[in-house]
Amino acid sequence: MTFLHPWFLLGSVLAAVPVLIHLWFRKRLKKVPFSTLRFLKSTEARRFGWLKLREWLILLTRCLFVLFLFVGLARPHLKSTLFGIGRLASVYLIADNSYSMAYGDNLGRMKELGRQVIARYSTNSEFCIIPLCEERVGTEYYWMRSESALHALDRIGLAYTGGSIREAVDRLPEMEPRHTVEYVYVGDGQVDNFRDFPVPLSTEGLFFWVQVATGGNIGISRVRLKDPVAVPQQSYTMQVMLNSYSPRAWSGKIGVTSGDCYLENDCELQSGAEAIVDFEMPVECAAGKFEIFDDSLLADNVYYFMKQLPQSMKILLVGDSPYLLRALQSESGAEVPFEIKIADRIGNVDLRRYDVMILAGLSEISDGERLRLSAFLSRPGTGLVVTLDDSVVGTAGGILEGVCRIEENVVPKGYVVVNWVDTDHRVFKIFENQRAMRDVLFYRYVRISAPDGVLARFSTGDPCIILRGNTAVIACRMVPSSTNFVYKSSFVPVLLRLLVNFVAGSQLTEFRVGENVAPLERVRTPAGDVLASDDFFKIPGFYSHNGESLCVNVEPGEGDLRILGQERAAILNVQKVDPEKDLAGSDLTTLFLIMALLSVFFELGFILLR
């Protein structure tokens, strides 16, 4: 037997007080000389024994009252089960409501196990029910009795986000617990849930883990455009990335629904493998959802997508550059996604009508033009391409400030070539595994430098193309006297992909459940409710914002259902328990207090019984 407040046991010595009082009064009893005790004895002969016994019983009940009272106040606790009395503790019950609990009926199973845990504790215990993933920001948690704890447990819903015990523990109530603290985590025990596990829990507290069994899972981790800077004509390719978190091989179907369009592909996936499945989509189908069928964790089986396909761009070409103009216009008469306007200067051209501006050669720009250019570039989905010529040195630092530094004109003996391109970048990804632009010669260029964003370099090491933010700088003017690039087959693709890159930037915007809605305002949920600016995305699906759709998906990592191993659990001092078998214990407080009360009743009974 252990005691929560053992110092109360010192009070049990007060059980001797009734005995001392008894002896004290007995000693102080007046001595009365009497003629004979015969009549007293004969009078009470039959009752005398009973009275003597009664006197001792009263004394005994008084002693027991004091003893039981102080033992009860010391909060006795037995490590085994006695009369079905439960454990005594202040229990932080961390309920796993992360979206991995959408596996089968695991959320319901978690609640059932949580109820079993609560039932193992005595009515004197207190509980704090903390969902692993916070359902509402700023929710306050507090200690409660078992009945309220059961209600709180029932109210917990699936969070569609990942969570960790660390974050849950950070939300513990400020109010001090009244008993010995025990932590009980009820959940599937994903490895990720134990990240940054608080050291005090593994060294000081009792941390129990009631496991909710789980299994393998296949999840869609991402959906993307195969070539995000290509301009699709009839169709485009979407890539669905799948991850297997299952110990078994999986084969099933993946379907995509977009409006009235439905496509389906078969897929086979080995245990622990990744796979990419291509879907050839018609250009009309830019939004919809991908689904895996025949898999158990439903939450990550659906992926909502909306890709803005570059279809039409308005381009302002400033300066005289017939080669650039020719590259942007289709010679064969095929439809091109560009609407081009030509201007000598920026001047008073209404820049709001254009998506991309090309400055062919950088001449003097007035302060007013510079301001208008800055305003133009501050709009999302806009871009600027600048080709530099000799005259720029010393004059055009202004608009390229923050992008690159212009140093000097370089006229090599003969020519230089481009011997490196960044094939990891989506603009040059098409040149992967081939020596791109190897036959392009440059007769003169402007030496520029930038800390990052270099997409191509000359053989001299100087940057040829720099892309920083929504500004691209080409260190050479696109004319035959400077380069033969304008005659090469790579010229048009590079130029087009550079331009499309700017407007395709918004494709990168992707939301996850759990992310804050800010800075967007008046975002509507799939059910049509308006979210506050400090709220966050709670469920996956299509949200709307200013008439546009936002697709929100679950965090793919949570689909990894690998659980904490035994060795790691031992290191963290996490005890895996079965609530029915391993959470035995008896809080004897109430029992002892009831016995103290019974002692009082018995004493009164003995006093009244003559």
Binding site: L29, P33, T36, L40, S42, E44, L51
Partner: protein
């Protein structure tokens, strides 16, 4: 009279057999008769010296009944043996009690 009642009666009868007139003045203390004690106390037997813790409130009525029965028994047995039995209270001066007895006896003669 608090000794063995049979032996006492036997001894008194022997006097009566020898034609003596025997008068028993049975002196009783008021405490003996009324048992007016209130607080629990250790009662000490003056004859045997034995002691007993007594709670008077619990015993009074039964004691008084038993004591009264004892006096009646003594009175009845002594009268049967033609022995006069008079109960005297220790609170009454013995000369006054004796005088009262003698006056009563003179009236009877």
């Amino acid at each position: 009279m608090l000794d063995d009642p049979d032996n006492v009666l036997k001894a008194l009868r022997s006097f009566r057999y020898r034609k003596h007139e025997v008068i028993v003045f049975h002196i009783v203390d008021r405490d003996e008769r009324d048992f007016p004690f209130e607080e629990s106390a250790v009662f000490s037997d003056l004859e045997s010296g034995s002691e007993m813790v007594v709670t008077p409130g619990l015993m009074r009525s039964r004691y008084k009944k038993r004591f009264s029965e004892f006096l009646d028994s003594c009175h009845r047995n002594l009268l049967e043996s033609h022995i006069d039995h008079t109960v005297l209270d220790t609170a009454t001066p013995y000369d006054r009690a004796l005088f009262a007895y003698l006056q009563k006896r003179a009236r009877l003669i």
